[in-house]
Amino acid sequence: MNALQLCLAFSSLLFAVGLAGALARSNAIIVLLGLELMLNAANINFIAFWRFSPSSAPATGVIFVLFSIAVAAAEAAVGMALVIAIYRHQKTIRLPDATDLKG
């Protein structure tokens, strides 16, 4: 395994941890934060490929991560607002209870 593969393994594991959290926990806030972890894992991939890319390419990887962080910030803001809105309506933020849209 070379350094790039180590980085990718790291990001895969982080992704898995985030996914496990998002799947296992019932609290909407933790689920959202698990999603953030997954996004972070994706960002790690960008940086890793940028760092070890064979060509001295322009900083596209870095810029992509910057955009990704911005989108993550937007996602967090809207997500937390949704959580608060759900709480106001249902007095709970447990995801298994928020199933009004079931078939």
């Binding site: 350094a3 790039l4 593969q5 180590l6 980085c7 990718l8 393994a9 790291f10 895969s12 594991l13 982080l14 992704f15 898995a16 941890v17 996914l19 799947l23 296992a24 926990r25 019932s26 609290n27 806030i29 933790i30 934060l33 698990g34 953030e36 972890l37 972070n40 790690i44 940086i47 890793a48 940028w50 760092r51 070890f52 890319s53 064979p54 001295s56 322009p58 900083a59 870095v62 810029i63 991560v65 910057l66 955009f67 962080i69 911005a70 989108v71 993550a72 910030a73 937007a74 967090a76 803001a77 809207v78 937390m80 607002a81 959580v83 608060i84 809105a85 709480y87 933020i93 298994p96």
Partner: protein
């Protein structure tokens, strides 16, 4: 080099796992903050200083704050009750699914022929980054700006108290 990476990775993964497993919501968030800081450390390790600082500023400075606010506003500040059996089943399923994904990803990483260039990080000055952002990626930057604005407005609208619209709602 790899030792530093290993330390950073272990700290990040460990705190992330602790955050996902932890019973106390606020502790989870603090552990996540540590994990995000670890990711920032990884960026530093990879030579992407600017991204690292942006990560700290956004994740530690903003997103964790938003999460803390959400916790306090939804009055979840004390520990969760012990999980019901259904939650246990879900947790097992979740771990199985996540393990599957991890296995697939790791297998792919291990079996892909990935070329690695020289050991030096590509030199990207902040100045060059700025020119790139304002030049080749200006349109994307604008779109992201609009997205952030709209997301902010949307968040405010969502989180704003709708009580005055339904005066008879509150007991």
């Amino acid at each position: 080099m790899s030792a530093a990476l290993a330390i950073v990775a272990l700290a990040t993964l460990g705190s992330a796992a602790a955050a996902m497993l932890g019973r106390s919501l606020l502790r989870s968030i603090f552990m996540l903050a540590v994990s995000w800081a670890g990711v920032a450390a990884f960026y530093m390790w990879a030579g992407a200083q600017f991204v690292a600082f942006a990560q700290v500023l956004i994740y530690l400075g903003a997103i964790s704050m938003v999460a803390l606010f959400a916790v306090l506003l939804t009055r979840q500040s004390r520990d969760e009750a012990s999980p019901p059996p259904a939650a246990l089943r879900r947790a097992i399923l979740a771990v199985v699914a996540a393990a599957g994904v991890a296995a697939v990803l790791l297998w792919a990483v291990a079996h892909s022929p990935l070329a690695v260039s020289g050991s030096l990080a590509p030199a990207t000055s902040v100045r060059q980054l700025g020119f790139d952002l304002m030049g080749r990626h200006a349109a994307a930057l604008l779109v992201v700006g609009v997205l952030l604005t709209i997301a902010l407005l949307g968040a405010v609208v969502l989180a704003a108290d709708g009580a005055q619209e339904r005066p008879g709602d509150e007991p």
